[in-house]
């Protein structure tokens, strides 16, 4: 009873009478208002008293942190029962929940079976020992004078120096030795804090970072790529750190693209190097993938995609190893797999999207495209590639659109066309890739009578109300349209239409059933050449677009996945993995071997034989 309130007490919070009543009820006692109020007050006081008493135990133990043990001692000495169950030596991490002002103590579930069967029995803690070293000879440090600021900082003005000290202290605590990122690689919390600092630096509109951005970028890259010491312990969530760092990287490129222009290529190279280095641990690879992902789909296309075949062999070797000793590595491998999947998927989507936009841009004229571009940026900043500082002609979405040329530019530097790319990727990922697209909640409000309807509904606002085409939603519409085709539209069938702009809508059609011809014609204003109706028979999955209309925010879902909620995406994915039985299967050599991440392959098989309609309730 006290344990739960004990936490609150440290903040000198009042225990509300509601809590008291709840607690009383939980033990089967009914309390009246007044009693609860009185009791609440007394509980507050007693807790406060116990806390104050416990602080002396902390002081005498020469610690700065009040431990549960201290509190229990105080309780014991005041003849109160102690609170058990919180005695762990390491501090309980206090996590904030961003949504809602909620703070909670992280309470990991421990799998006892796993623990019991674990082969890596901890060796026990190292022996306490004493080591001596001469710290200061004749009162002069034999080391560099500690506690002084690095030389780079010494030239600052008084105020700035103070600012610097405040910041370093706030972030690094009291220890002046943690000035470099590298020295804190054992401490994820520190790194996280550092990253947050970098973020706030980057976001500070009053700060001109100038050339410092480069060093910031290098620190962030460190966090993304380095096989941190903390990664050894699987309990440490270094993945989130890497994700966050990657996000930050993209953020830097977005906001300070001008300052880091020269770095883009360099970073791509280093990411590529890491990716192609099989000696590096998987967590580094993971970092490289999310880093590429963060740098935009172009980066993925240029670096990750060409390396995928080579890398795949390694990854697969890891994933195929079912031995117990490999379990940890395998889990890491799955992480990498998931990251690649997300990256590749977005690559496809964005590529398709850029195609459509290009097509639209050419057809619908300038006003539509510009708004579309703006809307695009605003809705999915994380998705769109950063303003490219590449040596090639600028290839950002906006520039791409403005150029107006229907998708000719990217062909110059991407040797692989979208369908071919999809084809190859599908050979790696198999269904797990394809299904991805089907899970994107379709747009549009009209309750669709048939599986084809959602598509129709989606198109409607754009086409029926031409002025709507210029609204911000437009890019999303097109995007989702493009996505849905790709999901089912396995490019292998397509006889590779000459103009890519034509292929896209064509595939989008393939998804729709026969009745969709109306909608097609309606929306045809922007889409000239969609036709191939054969594809729809081949991809029966097209029925899957879910009837329930999600919020028009598919980009967030992807973003969410990217941010580390891949599990969410995965869940979708497992429930939706039907293999298209009729398709002439592409070389799925790898895909067979690959276990589908998430709920493994069992549901897949079940779904293949069952009717899809069963699945619709979802």
């Amino acid at each position: 009873h006290q344990s739960s309130t004990g936490r609150e007490e440290r903040r000198f919070a009042e225990v509300p009478r509601e809590s008291i009543k709840l607690m009383a009820e939980s033990t089967g006692v009914e309390l009246s208002e007044e009693v609860a109020a009185l009791l609440a007050e007394d509980v507050c006081y007693r807790l406060r008293e116990a806390t104050q008493n416990s602080s002396q135990f902390m002081r005498h133990a020469k610690r700065r942190k009040l431990s549960v043990e201290d509190f229990n001692r105080a309780l014991r000495w005041s003849n109160t029962e102690t609170v058990c169950g919180y005695g762990a030596q390491d501090a309980l991490p206090f996590r904030p929940l961003k949504e809602g002002e909620l703070f909670f103590v992280e309470d990991r579930e421990i799998n006892l079976v796993e623990l019991a069967l674990a082969t890596n029995i901890p060796k026990g803690c190292a022996e306490t020992m004493v080591r001596v070293h001469v710290s200061y000879l004749d009162g002069k440090g034999n080391l560099e004078p500690q506690g002084t600021v690095p030389t780079a900082v010494q030239s600052l003005s008084e105020d700035l120096l103070k600012y610097y000290q405040q910041i370093t202290r706030a972030i690094l605590g009291e220890d002046p030795h943690l000035m470099k990122v590298k020295s804190v690689s054992h401490d994820l919390d520190q790194l996280n804090r550092l990253l947050h600092m970098v973020k706030s630096l980057v976001q500070n509109p009053y700060l001109y970072l100038g050339s410092y951005v480069r060093s910031l970028v290098s620190s962030v890259m460190y966090c993304i790529l380095e096989p941190l010491a903390a990664s050894i312990n699987p309990l440490n969530d270094h993945w989130t750190l890497r994700d966050y760092a990657a996000l930050l990287l993209s953020h830097i490129f977005w906001t300070h693209g001008d300052l880091v222009s020269g770095l883009y290529h360099q970073i791509l190279l280093s990411l590529q190097k890491v990716l192609s280095d099989p000696v590096r641990p998987l967590c580094s690879h993971y970092g490289a993938v999310v880093g590429l992902h963060a740098l935009g789909w172009k980066a993925v296309e240029r670096v990750l995609y060409p390396h995928l075949p080579a890398y795949w062999a390694n990854l697969q070797a890891v994933l195929d190893d079912y031995s117990v000793s490999n379990a940890q590595v395998k889990a890491d491998g799955h992480k990498v797999y998931g990251a690649i999947l997300v990256a590749v998927e977005r690559l496809l989507k964005m590529k398709a999207l850029s195609l459509t936009l290009a097509a639209e841009g050419s057809s619908a004229g300038l006003p539509g495209t510009t708004t579309g571009a703006v809307g695009f940026r605003e809705n999915s900043p994380g998705l769109s590639p950063p303003p490219e500082p590449l040596s090639e002609p600028p290839l950002g979405i906006a520039s791409h659109l403005q150029a107006g040329g229907a998708g000719c530019q990217w062909e110059e530097w991407t040797p692989v066309s979208l369908p071919a790319m999809y084809c190859e990727l599908y050979s790696f990922f198999g269904d797990s890739l394809a299904v991805r697209f089907s899970t994107d909640p379709p747009l549009g409000g009209a309750p669709p009578p048939g599986p084809c309807q959602p598509l129709e509904g989606r198109k409607e606002p754009a086409s029926s109300a031409p002025n709507l085409e210029n609204t911000r939603k437009m890019p999303q519409l097109t995007a989702s349209m493009n996505i849905s085709p790709r999901q089912d539209g396995s490019p292998r069938m397509e006889p590779q239409p000459p103009s890519l702009a034509a292929t896209v809508p064509g595939r989008s059609l393939s998804r729709s059933s026969s009745s969709s011809s109306v909608s097609r014609s309606r929306s045809s204003s922007s889409r000239p050449g969609r036709s191939t109706s054969q594809s729809r028979d081949i991809f029966p999955k097209s029925r899957f677009p879910l009837p329930q209309a999600g919020p028009p925010a598919f980009s967030f879902i992807i973003g969410g996945r990217q941010m580390g909620r891949r599990c969410l995406g995965r869940r979708f994915q497992t429930s939706f993995t039907p293999t298209p039985p009729l398709t002439t299967l592409p070389p799925r050599a790898y895909a067979h071997k690959l276990p589908v991440i998430g709920r493994v392959s069992k549901p897949v098989r079940r779904w293949t034989c069952s009717h899809y309609s069963l699945h619709l309730p979802l």
């Binding site: 700065r64 022996e127 306490t128 004493v130 710290s135 009162g139 220890d175």
Partner: protein, 750 residues
């Protein structure tokens, strides 16, 4: 436990012919409180001295009633008898009547060393402070004995609760309107008045008025009272008053203010004009205004001295004569010269040193005028091994580096690694050969920091086998098989908060949360004795510089003086209003200094148990103390990050060293006293020019009578260096005999 002790006590008492058998009563009382809660103040915290007669009588009656109620008939009888005797022996009456906490608690044994004490204590001057008496009453009150509380009736009077704010703000307005020179002095009234008025409101169940009162005026109080105010603000019910120690202190001890006569007259006139009886009553009942003639003090003067739980120490408290000089070094017939010659000849030096040594020796033969009589406190005789050690010491000290501002010591840091258990205390032997650490997991670990490994003595059977006549018998008794770099001592059942080596390196003391002090043999690495008596966590313990005696202080607010061969304390130093957090022996072993959570430092006379000095000025609990090697000065460090320097002879604060940003857990003077090293939680060691700090004061022409000091703010000049450790709080500091500074602490990976 109490029963057992009683039985033994009575046995002892029968052996005894002394009339003071009061220790019996004491142990009863302490046994009783031990079963109580943490909050009930231990009754052993008996007054160290006399008080006005009237109060005394009342106290006695109250105590008798209390004892009766608790069916402690033996004690009642004894107390009666003692009180009766009191008429005849006036001086000892105060002591005995108030619970026998004074020097006579010899553990009853025929104490060969301290046998004279009971006689001298009768003649000893009355103790200075009557607050402990009140304090003790409060202890009784805490148990809520109705008849006792009649005697107490601290806040029984009733004013109109709604007018309290008016009273207070009226006084505030008045004080703000007086001349500047008086304002600072009268402002001292704010805090105690505020607290007492608030408590009065709470005591009389005016919860809302109390809250409003607190809201309105708590912001006005000095920042260094924040900790207490935080305790206060949580307290809104009369029932809460019962158990709160801090508050009890307030209710029952008198807050001491020093105010010049002029200011006082001003105040008095004002209050009488306004007929402000409420405030006047509080001043009369709960405050002790120490009026002095002369210039009113300035704000900074006042601030430097205030901050303790119960105001400043009264001036007369610090007037007792303190023999702070060093004892004469025993004359040792030194074969040392020969050895030394050899050593020096080897180095090819002329024999000049010899004469130098003589002069050194003769210096110590001169009697320091401030030194106590050589046998004022009976000290153990030197054994042969001690003499050898003295010789070693003298040899080492000739090689000592003379430190100064230009010549700072080297620092070696002993880092405890993998101290998951939490390092809580560290001690070095004087010769820096052994290192002991106390840990929160109840263990004590001893390391040898020299190549010489730690060895146990052989078992009894094996010992029988060896030839006792051989020259190297001391070597032969050791068991080579047990040689190791470190040994772990198990025995405590709570974190070990204090460790201390005996000067001869044969014993180790450790004090723990389990309420005991344990004596360990470093020959067998086993526990020899567990000294029980504190019943509450024992925060610190230290051996006397001559061995045999040791002092301990704990949560029960008393410090106790023990002898290693007595299971009962020889003295109980009672008077602190809160936990005794650290204890240190004066270099001449005649005095003990204690630092406390009540933010005061007290100096106690080992001979008679009197409190001879009260130093106020710290704004936080005191966690470290150090005497200068010449015994004249005391340095104290506290949670407020300041080091204060005190002149023991004059009883004055003489320096304030600011620089640390966190609690100072260790202080040490260099062997010659030129440098003061302080180690803190802020992971730094700082060196201070103590010589300069002392010199500057000595040239000052301060008059000890007023006791007013004006401290120059010269911390920066005195700071000789700041040395950072690597995430390692400095738990202990030690100067080797050659003036190398050793620091110790546990690496803190966070």
């Amino acid at each position: 436990m109490a029963a057992v002790q009683d039985g033994q006590m009575e046995l002892d008492a029968e052996k005894e012919t002394k009339p003071e058998i009061l220790s019996d009563g004491t142990s009863n009382l302490s046994g009783n409180t031990a079963s109580g809660t943490l909050s009930s103040s231990p009754l052993t915290a008996a007054p160290a001295g006399g008080a006005p007669k009237m109060e005394d009588q009342q106290t006695l009656i109250a105590v008798l009633q209390f004892l009766k109620r608790n069916k402690l008939t033996d004690s009642v009888e004894i107390l009666r008898r003692e009180a009766g005797l009191g008429e005849d022996q006036e001086d000892s009456q105060a002591t005995d009547g108030s619970g026998g906490g004074k020097g006579d608690v010899d553990g009853g044994d025929a104490n060969s060393l301290l046998s004279r004490v009971s006689i001298t204590s009768a003649a000893a001057p009355q103790s200075m402070c009557d607050s402990p008496l009140m304090f003790m009453l409060s202890a009784a009150g805490a148990d809520d004995q109705p008849d006792v509380s009649v005697v107490l009736s601290a806040y029984s009077q009733q004013g109109d609760p709604s007018l309290y704010q008016v009273y207070y703000s009226g006084l505030k307005n008045f004080i703000e309107s007086v001349l500047d020179c008086h304002r600072a002095e009268l402002s001292q009234l704010f805090y105690p008045l505020f607290v007492h008025m608030y408590l009065e409101l709470v005591y009389n169940n005016h919860e809302n008025e109390a809250k409003a009162f607190f809201e309105k005026f708590s912001g006005d109080q000095e920042c260094y009272y924040q900790d207490d105010l935080r305790v206060l603000c949580g307290l809104t019910k009369k029932e809460h008053l019962k158990g709160n120690e801090v508050l009890l202190d307030f209710r029952t001890s008198r807050f001491v203010l020093r105010i010049s006569r002029d200011s006082y007259q001003l105040l008095k006139r004002h209050l009488q004009e306004r007929h402000n009886n409420q405030i006047w009553n509080i001043i009369q009942e709960h405050l002790y205004i120490d009026i002095f003639d002369g210039m009113p003090r300035s704000k900074s003067q006042i601030d430097s001295m205030s901050g303790s739980l119960a105001g400043e120490g009264k001036r007369e408290v610090n007037k007792a004569k303190v023999f702070h000089g060093l004892l004469k070094e025993p004359e040792i017939e030194v074969p040392l010269d020969d050895e030394d010659d050899e050593a020096e000849n080897e180095e090819g030096k002329p024999k000049k040193k010899k004469t130098k040594k003589d002069s050194l020796g003769s210096k110590s033969k001169k009697q320091d005028p401030n030194a106590p009589q050589q046998n004022r406190i009976p000290l153990p005789e030197l054994k042969d091994s001690d003499k050898l050690d003295k010789i070693m010491y003298m040899k080492e000290s000739t090689k000592r580096i003379r430190l100064g501002p230009e010549n700072l010591p080297s620092i070696c840091f002993y880092t405890f690694l993998n101290a998951y258990q939490g390092l809580t205390a560290v001690d070095f032997t004087d010769d820096s050969s052994l290192l002991a650490g106390g840990f929160a997991d109840s263990t004590v670990r001893v390391w040898s920091v020299t190549p010489k490994k730690l060895r146990k003595v052989k078992s009894a059977a094996d010992l029988n086998m060896i030839d006792k006549e051989s020259d190297d018998v001391l070597e032969r008794i050791m068991d080579e098989k047990t040689a190791s770099e470190s040994k772990i001592l198990y025995g405590h059942s709570g974190p070990v908060y204090g460790v201390s080596f005996s000067p001869d390196r044969n014993y180790l003391l450790s004090s723990s949360e389990d309420g005991t002090v344990r004596l360990w043999s470093l020959l067998t690495f086993t526990c020899l004795v567990g000294y029980k008596g504190h019943n509450y966590p024992v925060w610190d313990t230290q051996f006397s510089p001559f061995g045999y005696y040791f002092v301990s202080g704990g949560h029960d607010r008393v410090a106790r003086l023990w002898a290693t061969d007595h299971y009962q304390p020889l003295r109980i130093f009672a008077g602190h209003l809160a936990d005794v957090t650290c204890t240190r022996f004066h270099p001449n072993s005649n005095y003990v200094a204690t630092g406390s959570t009540d933010r005061t430092i007290r100096l106690w006379d080992v001979l008679n148990g009197n409190c001879v000095r009260i130093f106020t000025g710290h704004k936080g609990p005191i966690h470290s103390l150090a005497f200068s090697p010449n015994g004249k000065f005391l340095a104290s460090g506290s949670t407020d990050g300041r080091v204060l320097l005190w002149d023991i002879g004059h009883g004055l604060m003489i320096g304030e060293l600011k620089g640390h940003t966190d609690t100072i857990y260790s202080l040490k003077f260099s062997r010659d006293g030129e440098i003061l090293a302080s180690g803190s939680m802020d992971n730094t060691v700082r060196l201070w020019n103590s010589m300069k700090a002392f010199d500057e004061v000595e040239t000052d022409d301060f008059t000890a009578t007023t006791g007013h000091i004006h401290l120059p703010d010269n911390s920066q000049e005195l700071l000789l260096g700041t040395y950072h450790s690597k995430s390692t709080p400095v738990t202990h500091l030690h100067f080797t005999r050659r003036n190398l500074l050793l620091a110790a602490g546990a690496y803190n990976s966070q």
